[in-house]
């Protein structure tokens, strides 16, 4: 049997507060080293099947690393096409979170019809951009965008999200009054969950020192990965001792709806939930705009040569880094650093947010909500150990 990856979070309560946070992960952070010896195209072919939730981002990070290692600059047609693929995955993952994972938190059934509608709409993006199916090809595949199919896919996704929220996502976040009216309406489970989290003690829950991931990733990441011979850095990354938060809140803190909640309640549970909504809305907007930037491009003749390269991609859950070393047409070394290793680091944003939190009958649920807001890519279980009992 293949062990299922999971995170176990144990909170130790003393004198009415969380006095210790232990996060145990059995994620296979070093498995990618077994890509060594394979051809680069074999690896990019394998990645989408190996990573169910973020297969697109994994391939794009791998391609970026390989192309960088070989000094290949991709054509101006590849950039918007790849960004479109990435956004389709972000929309899918955030939307599935809202439709499938949020309703049970307020005692409702998952909205599977809307989840399916969204997933199928976004699944149409890949063939509408790369009809030959060669999007995983180093150097870039043949881009032949069907603008009609892409426009339909984005509209269908927007309609599915409107189903999930009972309102247009952009309209919900347009101004404080619209947001207030939406969550007070309680028309859908997502609105009810946000309404519950608007209570000040929940909105501020998980508020800790906010250390957002820099836009270009941590300084010196390539050297840190290069020097990581035993995999310790892949399991517990840092940047000069700091453990960044990566994902929607780190990326969307500029958005007025997110700024408003951060100003009122800090970088806690509510700000993280609203950041995910904001990123869903803004990703759909960006897809609309990108459709107009797409153009036909043949698959270039790209030749991978020996070298080392780092590829960074902003995946739905945060910064995803691949580092590759190529030698004689084969992978010599391959490393993957995923966002969950930052957000669920023993000294990362989840741990910082939970440390010192007040104990009480609601602690386990609140900690579970915070973990869900940070959106791990594997199952996560929270346990409370009460030394006071």
């Amino acid at each position: 049997m293949f062990p299922e990856a999971r995170l176990d979070v144990t909170l130790r309560v003393e004198a009415g507060r969380v006095a210790g946070v232990n996060i145990h992960s059995n994620r296979l952070v070093q498995a990618s080293k077994l890509f060594a010896g394979r051809r680069p195209d074999e690896v990019t072919h394998l990645l989408p099947t190996l990573f169910a939730l973020c297969g697109t981002a994994q391939v794009l990070a791998g391609l970026a690393a390989m192309e960088r290692a070989s000094g290949i600059s991709t054509s101006s047609s590849q950039t918007p096409a790849r960004q479109m693929l990435l956004l389709a995955e972000t929309v899918t993952e955030h939307g599935l979170g809202l439709a499938r994972d949020w309703p049970p938190l307020v005692g409702a059934e998952p909205d599977l019809a809307a989840a399916r509608r969204l997933k199928l709409a976004m699944a149409a993006v890949r063939p509408a951009l790369y009809p030959a199916g060669d999007w995983t090809r180093p150097g870039g595949g043949e881009v032949r965008p069907s603008l009609d199919a892409l426009g339909k896919a984005v509209n269908e996704a927007r309609a599915a999200v409107a189903d999930i929220l009972s309102a247009d996502a952009e309209a919900v976040l347009a101004d404080p009054d619209s947001f207030h009216l939406w969550h007070r309406s309680g028309n859908r489970p997502a609105a009810r969950l946000i309404d519950e989290i608007m209570a000040p003690d929940l909105a501020t829950f998980g508020r800790g020192p906010f250390l957002p991931m820099p836009e270009q990733g941590p300084a010196g990441l390539d050297a840190r990965l290069d020097g990581d011979r035993d995999g310790a850095y892949l399991a517990r990354p840092d940047s000069h001792g700091r453990v960044f938060e990566t994902g929607p809140l780190a990326r969307m803190s500029w958005h007025p709806a997110v700024t408003a909640q951060m100003g009122a309640f800090g970088a806690g549970l509510l700000a993280r939930m609203v950041a995910r909504l904001a990123e869903l809305a803004s990703s759909l907007q960006e897809m609309d705009q990108l459709v107009h930037a797409l153009s036909d491009a043949p698959a270039p003749a790209a030749c991978l040569v020996d070298g080392a390269g780092l590829g960074l991609v902003e995946a739905a859950r945060g910064l995803l880094a691949h580092r590759v070393e190529l030698e004689s047409g084969r992978v010599k070394r391959y490393q993957i650093l995923a966002p969950t290793e930052w957000n669920f680091h023993p000294e990362g944003p989840l741990a910082r947010g939970l440390m010192g939190a007040p104990a009480g009958p609601e602690l386990e649920r609140r900690a579970t909500l915070l973990a869900l807001a940070l959106d791990p890519c594997v199952a996560c279980r929270v346990t409370v150990e009460n030394a006071d009992a």
Binding site: F2, A5, A31, L50, F51, L53, L96
Partner: protein
């Protein structure tokens, strides 16, 4: 790593499938899939395994399973 283990569909009842991977059987919902699924097909499951996320071609599934077997044998899992 959030690695997905391709699972072979061994039985289907309504919108629920029994799937098998590495000798372990489990049940999963087919509700989120767009493709028709038949016994013998391979699917990958979302986190927690409640829902099948995607149908994968047999050759890609076998390739991924061979790699995952190597991960197990190497002690990475």
């Amino acid at each position: 790593m959030c690695m997905a283990v391709p699972s072979r569909v061994v039985a289907i009842e309504g919108l629920t499938a029994t799937v098998e991977a590495f000798g372990q059987e489990r049940q999963t919902s087919l509700l989120l899939l767009g493709d028709e699924v038949a016994v013998g097909d391979y699917v990958i499951l979302g986190a927690g395994g409640t829902f099948a996320a995607e149908v994968v071609p047999e050759d890609a599934a076998r390739e991924a399973l061979a790699y995952l077997a190597q991960v197990l044998a190497d002690g990475q899992a």
